[in-house]
Symmetry: C2
Subunit: 445 residues, 2 copies
């Protein structure tokens, strides 16, 4: 039954979320004199930076997801609960779960992540394809392949926009999805579909701002645009989406793009759990934290990662990046230990390791600290290497490496399967959250 | 648009089903002077002998599924149609598809496979977990892991049978599922679930006949039983299932087993397409064919694999085995070519290569021709090797080999993820069969 408060002598640290922030916190605590319970609505950690490769059939689901329990097999005092967090009773120190008993805590680290922000654009919540979970990645993969299958059976559908893909958002995710889709169509589907001119497919990348990769060096944005255009992607900067319908989107200015697939990579907001807490919220609904990452008024509750609004020490706020989450999770865990040991707490100092984005084979950008800017082949190799290093688990590193080598050498994509397991009849799991989740806007932990 | 009968000069061979039989036929024809269209309701070939390893988290979905189009990338006159076959107009020579235009043929090879046969046992169709498709394998995997997660959160559920797994059918599939489940629980979940005594889990293998592996040598059956019992599986021979409910099954004699997971490995029947044809049907609804595998009255229509009822030349009928399907598919393709070339047709002669089943690590049985019987480690190595050889595609062989080596060395199972992509909102595919399929009893091509 995990940590039992009746008999426990060790403090109980509960970590909400098994993303980068939550895992970093739990890993920091795994061998300390505390009981740890990690709660997540999935039974696996998702390596989000590679989700787009699952969506474009380059990687297996299990390459990018890692069972949380598998990460703590030898730490018998680390427990896991697969559950949907519905709220936190900050005064009684309990985490409330859907359909399951609440979990008491002595120290709480909230790393519940972010969710898609569609900014109230009509139709976007219902029809756009976000890319924040492994399930969403598989759903997008199913959809993309299904559209090509439909066009192959009835070529007349191409004129209706069945092979037009619109990607909204010119940040790293949007750039990566658009580039990977272009390569999937040009290099893989061109050989797959003998009775279809796949070059009639269109990939349109729509960005509201005036350039791509706004958080990067300007030359990186220019490079990314050129690299995408060389791959046949239509890049539309200074363009906003006004509304989304089943078979088209309307752009600002009234232009209509016929499409059956709109990928949403345009922005995130804090998970719904942030709204459930009686604390101050900042940009994107994020929880404003003290410099030690604790929540004002609740010194034993910390927020890290995408759900936290963190001062960067010079008046700005830290960005939503894996590195911010990882370093923040580790920092919060250390403050828990300091508190238990009655040592003074420390402020969080983020060490900027730079940002990267890949466009396609041998094409990437990397803005590293101390002004180093890589582009093209060097950036691509650096990107490959760093993602292998940061992947969780040796098995996943081996598998991803082999898949990448295979895809690179053969232009093949093994996992291009349309898989819909839950379309089959389903036996309910007693008292658990196995019921299909359709409220994507729900708490993301 | 694939083969166009208006302008075609090459005969059009349509193959229904991309299983072992259909693929063998299409592969035999791929470089001949014919147009080939392969039709399947999935966009991938399923390597059915390893489905149980997907269900028990040992292999990735893409290790066991191979995109059909990927198998014919260089054969520009081989086409693929992802579609549900609803019927065949034998007189007009047309294959009818759900929601898609019908496909005309000059020669037709029906390799639509088999589906689960629950023999009218109440509740079995709705509640049992069959294991014939990749989607069913993922569904079973989701369900098994979810049950352990539920028991971990609420240990009281164990007494209600939440960790009791009942496998019906003592043939190779039943033996393999039961053995793999036992190893998953004992070797993987025992380390995963720190707050649950997984040894309270039960795996019960129920077989109506008086021994396991009835199609094998008697000593193989005895060996399999002992090997399963050593792994903690309760083997109940001479026991039938009388009815199935959400939380229990009733055995013949009235005994009630509380369970939330009944795996159905007890029998197959011909796909529903067989019933739609105005031809004679034999055992299990299979289509009785001539010795050249053509359908009586329709010399240009062949049936191969599990959907065909084939004379074994000595008064019996050939079994439902991959080898019968592979050899039959190749034979039918050759008869198509002979017919086109106006050469006389030949009868089908099945070359028995033996049968194998694996129970767990270093435990298997192999009944080979000329009376060779292997058990234990030699049979297990033979089984591994042969399955690697017969897997479709180099990439899948490499991936399966690496996964096996990893699992063997680490007792780990990478793909133990609960993944429910289709629980998310779904955008319809125009005019295609993307609607959730719930009639499993439908045509299996």
């Amino acid at each position: 039954m995990g940590h039992d408060p009746e008999v426990a002598v060790r403090p109980h640290v509960v970590v909400i979320g098994a993303g980068f922030g939550g895992l970093a916190a739990a890993k920091r605590l795994e061998d300390e004199a505390v009981d740890v319970t990690v709660i997540d609505r999935h039974n696996y950690h998702t390596f989000q930076p590679l989700l787009y490769q699952v969506a474009t059939a380059g990687l297996n689901t299990a390459d990018v997801g890692y069972a949380v329990r598998g990460l703590f097999r030898r730490q018998r005092r680390v427990f896991f609960r697969k559950a949907q967090v519905t709220g936190i009773d900050l005064d009684r120190r309990r985490v409330e779960l859907r359909d399951l008993p609440e979990v008491p805590y002595d120290h709480l680290i909230v790393a519940a992540g972010s969710r898609c922000n569609t900014f109230g654009i009509p139709g976007a919540d219902e029809l756009a394809f976000p890319l924040y979970t492994l399930e969403e990645a598989v759903r997008l993969r199913n959809h993309v392949i299904s559209l090509f299958e439909a066009a192959s059976a009835e070529p007349g559908l191409v004129a209706e926009g069945v092979l037009t893909f619109v990607v909204v958002g010119g940040g790293p995710t949007g750039v990566e999805v658009a580039g990977a889709l272009a390569e999937l169509v040009e290099k893989v589907f061109a050989d797959d579909f003998h009775d279809l001119d796949v070059h009639r497919s269109r990939i349109v990348l729509v960005e509201q701002g005036d350039r791509l990769l706004a958080a990067f060096d300007e030359h990186s944005g220019t490079y990314a645009r050129a690299a995408l255009e060389r791959r046949g992607v239509e890049v539309r900067t200074g363009t906003a989406v006004e509304s989304v319908a089943v078979d088209h989107v309307v752009l600002a200015g009234g232009e209509v793009l016929h499409t059956r697939c709109l990928v949403w990579a345009a922005g995130v907001q804090a998970g719904a759990l942030a709204q459930a807490l009686p604390v101050a919220r900042g940009r994107g609904g994020r929880i404003v934290v003290h410099r030690d990452l604790s929540v004002p008024g609740y010194p034993d509750v910390y927020c890290v990662g995408d759900i936290a609004d963190i001062d960067d020490g010079s008046g700005g706020r830290l960005p939503q990046l894996a590195q911010v989450a990882i370093q923040g999770g580790r920092h919060a865990a250390e403050q828990v230990l300091r508190t238990i040991e009655r040592r003074p707490r420390a402020d969080f100092h983020y060490l900027d390791k730079g940002t990267m984005a890949t466009i396609g084979r041998r094409a990437a950008v990397a803005d590293l600290p101390i002004g180093v800017r890589l582009r093209g082949m060097p950036a691509w190799l650096a990107w490959l290497l760093l993602h292998l290093v940061y992947l969780v688990g040796v098995r996943n590193r081996v598998s991803v490496f082999i898949n990448w080598a295979w895809n690179y050498l053969t232009w093949d994509r093994g996992p291009r399967l349309i898989l819909r397991p839950e379309a089959l009849p389903h036996t309910p799991i007693p008292h658990s959250d196995a019921a299909p989740r359709t409220d994507q806007a729900g708490t993301s932990a």
